[in-house]
Symmetry: C2
Subunit: 229 residues, 2 copies
DNA sequence: CGTATTCTTGACTTATATCAATGTCGGTGG
DNA sequence: CCACCGACATTGATATAAGTCAAGAATACG
């Protein structure tokens, strides 16, 4: 399948890679259009590929034994995801669902060690990527350990605005479908509590809600809350 | 400084590395004995080295702006730690304190990219290490999102018993000094709640407490609690 | 010994979950 | 095109897990 090289070039992971190396990489890649709501891979499924998100937005969810769901992370364009093999796993630990029309690149997992060995720069960058993810996880742990719900929700919304926000008349629109339940699963609370919090913020003019919609109208206001009232 | 090679060989990261490669690595390494209670590096300090724990036990803590402390992780023998550079940071995100007499190896951070480029296997293994750490973080996030305190404490104690337990008459001893406060900082709760929980478990014969001591007497009992009563 | 941590335990408070009911939006198909 | 249905959201009332406040006991250490 033919893949637009300029789109790839815009991704930090590949921006300084020599042409030939990049071509070698793309040779083995396949791309796929993923419509809103469809899954890229599912929790427990055999990890046959690793992926790169070129365009769109995904959420990675996990379901616990007793049926509770959490959102492990949101995948943004340029992010590697589903690299279970690099974590020495054979199955995917979560389910990746498109929350906006998306475009992915994928490679067979067998090629991962190969790529890494032949391309040390890729290895270093990939490690940095995973490292950043680790830091994000630690931030989340820290917030869940020390902050109350409202602050956590504020932090989460601000991060979404930063990573997935589109400037719009009146504020920053979160650029994909996101429900109260989703926000609850990202912050470790219930949709009821999130709903109450967003309602309160709406009264204060900080945000504007809507069905699976969110518009941040006053970033400073939220930052005040995030930093502990 | 002369370093015992057999000790290094026992560590998975290096077990299958050619002798010459290992020597090249050890050439640039320095080892240090860290007495109980001393720090290896401190939060915010310039990341000048990365480390490997050969022997002993460390805890890595973080202090938030408003002075609350959490334990990010416990470092066990064989673990890499303080590899801030791999995460493209210039400072250490936390403080590493010896909770038992310890022995570390360290390398100047500048050598990290060098090592990785010259030793692809090391790169892959290091990535797996970070990957595992990421998974552990996700487990913790999942537990904090979905489980109540008692279950989380049970999970944490069981993990400690598994990773840092020494068989002993009557049960499995957690092999380093650990306070109620420490357990609280690992599970996102308060020392009071931990104290009450451990007291209750002691009455049930699951554990035996003591000042900065913990003995797991009934692993199955704890596992029942961990899995949701 | 006495002084400082660490731990325990009780009483009380509170944030947040749970339970329950109703409202609203938006897409589907008749 | 409108009506209806299902998914999503709001909001109130109530329950409760866990935090906070407070005091004292146990243990280690110099």
């Amino acid at each position: 399948m033919k893949i637009d090289r300029s789109l790839i070039r815009s991704i930090p992971l590949f921006d300084r890679m020599p042409d030939e190396e990049l071509d070698r990489l793309l040779q083995h890649a396949s791309s796929r259009r993923v419509p809103q709501g469809e899954t890229v891979f599912e929790q427990g499924g055999t990890a046959s590929s690793f992926y790169l998100l070129l365009h769109g937005r995904l959420k990675v969810t996990q379901v616990t034994e007793d049926g509770q769901q959490i959102i492990v992370r949101v995948v943004h364009p340029g992010d590697l995801f589903g690299f279970a093999k690099a974590l020495q796993r054979t199955d995917y630990p979560g389910t990746a669902i498109a929350v906006a029309e998306s475009l992915t690149l994928s490679w067979p997992t067998e090629l991962w060690p190969n790529f890494v060995e032949h391309n040390p720069r890729l290895a270093v960058t990939a490690m940095q990527t995973i490292g950043q993810r680790l830091e994000e996880a630690h931030v989340r742990i820290r917030e869940m350990s020390t902050e109350e719900v409202e602050r956590r929700v504020a932090h989460t919304v601000l991060r979404l605005a930063k990573k997935a926000g589109r400037q719009e008349a009146g504020g920053i629109r979160i650029d994909f479908l996101i429900s109260r339940q989703d926000i609850a699963e990202m912050t470790g609370t219930t949709l009821h509590t999130v709903s109450r919090i967003l309602s309160a913020w709406e009264k204060l003019g900080f945000v504007e809600g809507g069905r699976q919609k969110l518009l941040v109208k006053d970033q400073n206001g939220l930052e005040t809350i995030a930093s502990g009232s």
